[in-house]
């Protein structure tokens, strides 16, 4: 063989990746693509079963006797959910700021020197902020779930209950994982500080976090707003 003749040197260390990108980032995007199908299945089911429940409570409709034992009001609480949607959107803002802070750790003063500039440059602050906003969202969800249960909507109650709780529950579980992930990053940041060389792992968690956010954007419209 041509090359065996001039015995090439052994390739030491890791050969560069083909695309120059990090494996993990490709994997997370593939994962996000896959999650699209997961949430589509859940959302489709919710929509397919919309209006098919044989007994209340219903999302948007009032249910009077004799269809329902007592008069049931529409159960979805739009004002509260609008607030929690806003909270989640803001958590995405916090997340991009956390990533920017990590990426620019080695450029002191990049964000300005005032108090706001220093705040912008604090990755710990924004990681914590993201996690707190995420947790707040979860708090709203916990409140929503308990109040629904009090109003007679459980996961066993009707098709709406089953598909609603499963869909939003799956989303909530994703947020929970995201919060744990952020807290883990925060712990690392506290222990040894996150710098530009860690930007990738923060970027990956950010992609996940934003994806969970866009899923909620879809859910908010398809489940809560559209009647």
């Amino acid at each position: 063989m041509a090359t065996t003749a001039h015995a090439p040197a052994v390739t030491h260390g890791h050969p560069p990746t083909t695309t120059g990108l990090d494996h993990r980032k490709i994997a997370i995007w593939a994962f996000i693509g896959s999650e699209c199908m997961l949430f589509t299945s859940l959302i489709s089911t919710y929509l397919v079963y919309k209006g098919r429940s044989v007994s209340g409570p219903f999302p948007h409709e009032v249910c009077n006797p004799p269809q329902c034992a007592t008069t049931l009001k529409p159960i979805l609480n739009i004002p509260i959910t609008s607030v929690s949607t806003f909270v989640l959107l803001m958590s995405s803002l916090a997340m991009v700021l956390a990533l920017a802070a990590v990426e620019n750790k080695d450029k002191p003063g990049w964000a300005g020197t005032g108090a706001w500039g220093r705040a912008l440059a604090s990755s710990k602050l924004w990681l914590l902020m993201t996690a707190i906003l995420g947790a707040t969202f979860l708090g709203f969800q916990a409140y929503e779930f308990t109040s629904f249960v009090h109003e007679g909507l459980t996961i066993r109650q009707n098709l709406f209950g089953s598909s609603f709780f499963t869909l939003t529950g799956f989303h909530g579980a994703h947020v929970t994982v995201g919060v744990l992930w952020l807290l883990t990053l925060l712990a690392i940041d506290m222990r040894r500080g996150l710098g530009p060389k860690d930007a990738l792992i923060v970027d990956i968690s950010a992609l996940y976090w934003h994806f969970v956010d866009v899923v909620w954007i879809a859910i908010f419209t398809l489940v809560y707003l559209i009647r």
């Binding site: 090359t3 065996t4 593939a30 199908m37």
Partner: protein, 623 residues
């Protein structure tokens, strides 16, 4: 030009894996994981085949009483589930593992420990699913488990095993999917752009996308079923207004891409075997790639052809009929390109080649009957009869299985360093070929003569006796075939002729390195300048490398200064705790809910703990 650079070419004698059970439990080496997949899947093939054998004994004559109706239902459910999820998919995974890094010139996959995790999940999931036999409650709802039969109307543990088992196995496939997507995108050797990638790797690449996009859908469908069964949700509860077609749609949105998950790896293998033994490059490589993509893409838009009898209405029937028929076009292109790969070649009928040719011949039969199902009015007279059983055994056995067996004979030397016996292989092939056709060909007729599938018995005097007897005889011949094949594997593993780097004169990078390859695969990462790097150096299908074995050692990674990932037991633990977590759910149906909750929490904690400990341990030592 390929840099098939290794230590002196024929030097494999001194190279030995470090042995011992522990090294297998902790391995993160893609070749060893591939071997684990291979042997595990072959074992499950014996089990799935045994189930088929009992089915055939029962159906040998009318009104058979060899097994009970309940047992029969468990048998065909587990036969289908086993063959699809525990045999064909993992056999494909065995080849993905062994071949993808070798074909693209990489030292391992992108995430070696995730790779180990996938295997362990598969192993534990398959054991869990089959543990149902031990408690006498094997799944009995058919391999596509239609609700509400599997929800409201199946109180026992049977379906629980099936639901939970499939959930577990899904995790394995998904994890492997992300891993291989990353590997193929990101670890190709310099110069190997996409249109130079070996065709098997291409098909594997496409399959990974099918996996990661199809599995989430069945995961959700199964979650609903699991919730219905365990937590009293109403997804499939007809009395609550549910539509049982929801399950069918979700299942087949997964299920049809799944059948291409089952066939494309075999197509890929055959596309490697045919050129080598025809001494000619693959005919129309780019078209082969595009047709693979097209098949996969169209495959997401045809699912409801499994539901022509449910009453979807004429518009939906028309839509799905047309998309289904369209798939025949890219598949036909593949068939003809294979034939023209051989056309004008210099064909050597090795065992691998025979199996590959059998795929071309037999898959065509299955494909044509597939097109017959695609016509909804005609399908009304076919669906749920043995005509369908004939179709899918022609594509699954005549297609996937034949292709994988071709791959086995072709790549066994790469796995083990030893050749499978060609003489026994010839017997293996002909017994398989004859037995297979004798089993499944008559099923076309039994179906059209009115034999519904999944029936425990058929009555005498319906004109079905002879046909079923033929099918059963065919199955008995297949038993012989399997025994011969198993004998070949077992004997050759120990005493087979030693294979050099390149026993067949293959064109792609995997043949440039020793068999079995050293743990780092390539001492120097080759630079690729063409689709068939090795054929630039020797005539196709011949090998310049002497078969003789020199005593020279293949140097170890350490000696060469190549960083290797550390072995790790953690993936196994995560897989184990995850499986146990699912298994604990069964306790709920045994009336031990508190115990179940305690078990689930314990296992989840242990799993999370192992996972953190895995993720926080670097893959390799600092260097």
């Amino acid at each position: 030009m390929a840099t098939a650079a290794t230590a002196p070419a024929a030097a494999q004698k001194g190279y030995e894996h470090e042995g011992g059970i522990w090294s297998w439990l902790t391995t993160v080496d893609h070749k060893r994981i591939g071997a684990l997949y291979l042997y595990t899947a072959l074992l499950w093939f014996l089990v799935g085949g045994l189930e088929a054998l009992v089915i055939r004994i029962q159906l040998q004559g009318p009104n058979g009483r060899f097994v009970s109706a309940e047992m029969y239902n468990q048998l065909f459910t587990m036969h289908g589930t086993t063959m699809i999820f525990l045999v064909i998919m993992p056999l494909s995974a065995a080849f993905f593992n062994l071949l993808i890094p070798l074909q693209i010139g990489a030292r391992d996959v992108a995430f070696p420990r995730l790779n180990a995790f996938s295997y362990w999940v598969y192993l534990f999931g398959s054991l869990f699913m089959n543990a149902s036999w031990l408690v006498g409650a094997a799944p009995n709802g058919g391999w596509f488990g239609y609700t509400p039969l599997t929800s409201t109307f199946s109180p026992g543990l049977n379906i629980d095993f099936w639901v939970l088992g499939l959930q577990i196995l899904g995790v394995s496939s998904l994890a492997a999917g992300f891993n291989f997507i990353t590997t193929i995108i990101n670890m190709r050797a310099p110069g190997m752009h996409f249109m130079r990638m070996p065709i098997f790797t291409w098909m594997a690449f496409i399959v990974q996308f099918l996996l990661v996009l199809a599995f989430p859908v069945i995961t959700i469908a199964l979650v609903f079923l699991q919730f219905d069964r365990f937590f009293g949700t109403q997804f499939y509860e007809a009395a609550a207004g549910a539509d049982p077609l929801l399950w069918q749609h979700l299942f087949w949105i997964f299920g049809h891409p799944e059948v291409y998950i089952l066939i494309l790896p075999a197509f890929g293998l055959v596309s490697e075997v045919l050129p080598t033994f025809s001494r000619k490059p693959l005919f129309g490589y780019p078209v082969m790639v595009y047709s693979g993509m097209l098949i996969a893409f169209l495959g997401f838009g045809v699912w409801a052809h499994h539901m022509f009898a449910v009453g979807m209405g004429p518009i939906a029937d028309t839509l799905f009929a047309v998309t289904t028929m369209l798939i025949g076009i890219p598949t036909g292109v593949k068939i003809f390109n294979w034939i023209f790969t051989m056309w004008g070649g210099d064909i050597r009928f090795t065992t691998a080649m025979k199996f590959a040719i059998a795929l071309v011949a037999l898959f065509t039969i299955g494909g044509i009957s597939g097109v017959m199902h695609a016509s909804p009015p005609a399908d009304l007279q076919q669906t749920d009869t043995y005509f369908i059983v004939a179709h899918f055994h022609y594509v699954l056995f005549g297609g996937s299985m034949m292709g994988l067996l071709a791959g086995l004979y072709y790549y066994f030397p790469k796995f083990t360093g030893r050749m499978l016996s060609e003489k026994i292989g010839t017997w293996h092939f002909w017994l398989t070929f004859v037995g297979m056709n004798l089993t499944f060909m008559p099923m076309h007729w039994s179906g059209l003569l009115g034999m519904p599938r999944r029936t425990w018995v058929y009555d005498a005097g319906q004109g079905l006796e002879t046909l079923n007897l033929m099918s059963s005889l065919g199955a008995y011949i297949q038993v012989l075939a399997v025994l011969v094949g198993a004998y070949n594997v077992l004997v050759s593993m120990r005493r087979g002729v030693r294979a050099g780097n390149d026993p067949w004169g293959g064109p792609t990078l995997e043949w440039s390195i020793p068999s079995p390859p050293p743990d780092y695969n390539f001492a120097a990462i080759p630079t690729v300048t063409s689709r068939y790097p090795l054929w630039e150096h020797h005539a196709p299908g011949t090998s310049d490398i002497p078969r003789t074995i020199s005593d020279q050692r293949v140097p170890t990674a350490k000696e060469l200064g190549i960083p290797m990932p550390n072995p790790s037991i953690k993936p196994l633990f995560v897989a184990l705790f995850m499986t146990l977590m699912f298994a604990c759910m069964l306790l709920i149906h045994l009336g031990k809910t508190p115990l179940a909750i305690a078990g689930i929490i314990t296992c989840a904690t242990l799993m999370t703990f192992s996972l953190y400990s895995w993720l926080l341990t670097p893959l390799e030592d600092e260097h």
